[in-house]
Subunit: 164 residues, 2 copies
């Protein structure tokens, strides 16, 4: 469990944690794969969310996913993409943050991925939480914690009292 | 400045902060750009360090850097890469960690980039520090700090004493 003072400082910037859906580049799963390649090469992100026509999150697609498809034994062949849709190339087993998840879940999941899509209870895509924004809060935390609080080592007695 | 107790907990995992050069995929600046594309599509990283023949860090190259070159007004054209070397496509104005930098510098720089190349005083590439590894330490910090220490709010008097 994250300590309450620690959590409180970390969450002081929580408004900037979520990058809202309208500010995130996405593609539709029914789009041609080559369209995703063009979007990815222009937006400056390596991986973007894939939505269905009802704005539900269905996967993520990365430059690596697409380029990997294009590399065959003879080298590099962009013809391979002809006829493929985003749904054929995307990753669909992806972690996301749901309404029941909290800061602790987000911090754990972000060890494994550089950003987390956020969805509502109907899987509608709401935005992303990124390692970058969380690291801004971490910088805030590590600079503020000992300015605001005296850190007094707990004795074993106090620790036991807390654990019981 | 990062508080001393905070810093001490963050640095308990510092041995895992640096991913050593021998475990990092790199390319030579004199390699063909298409070679970098093949390496990047296989290693699972979006961006890798570029070295010269003396193991000095000279830049970073990403899938986006290469794909961006290949996209022209007519769509996607891999012929554009013919005759280009890694040095022609890489980014060469990149932040890195030098021997004089500390944890505070690393945490600040990692807000802007997903990993930092580490070099010695002669610019020889020693490895990378990643947001991922730092986030592992952050998880450790936020779970441990209030287990080990009682956080006692500082009065203004104490704060002033510290600042003078």
């Amino acid at each position: 469990m994250i300590g309450k003072h620690t959590k409180s400082i970390l969450l002081e910037n929580q408004d900037s944690f979520l990058i809202a859906a309208e500010n995130v580049a996405t593609v539709l799963c029914s789009h041609p794969a080559e369209h995703a390649l063009l979007v990815l090469s222009k937006v400056g992100y390596n991986k973007i969310p894939v939505l269905d026509s009802s704005d539900r999150l269905v996967g993520l697609i990365s430059l690596a996913n697409i380029v990997d498809k294009m590399v065959d034994l003879n080298g590099f062949n962009s013809k391979v993409l002809d006829g493929l849709n985003v749904a054929d190339v995307m990753e669909d087993k992806i972690p996301s943050l749901k309404p029941e998840n909290d800061l602790e879940d987000a911090l754990h999941l972000l060890v494994g991925v550089s950003f987390l899509p956020v969805v509502d209870e109907n899987d509608i895509f709401k935005g992303i939480v990124t390692r970058k924004e969380v690291l801004k809060s971490v910088n805030h935390l590590v600079h503020e914690a000992e300015k605001r609080y005296e850190f007094i080592p707990k004795t074993d007695e106090i620790k036991e009292g807390i654990n019981t």
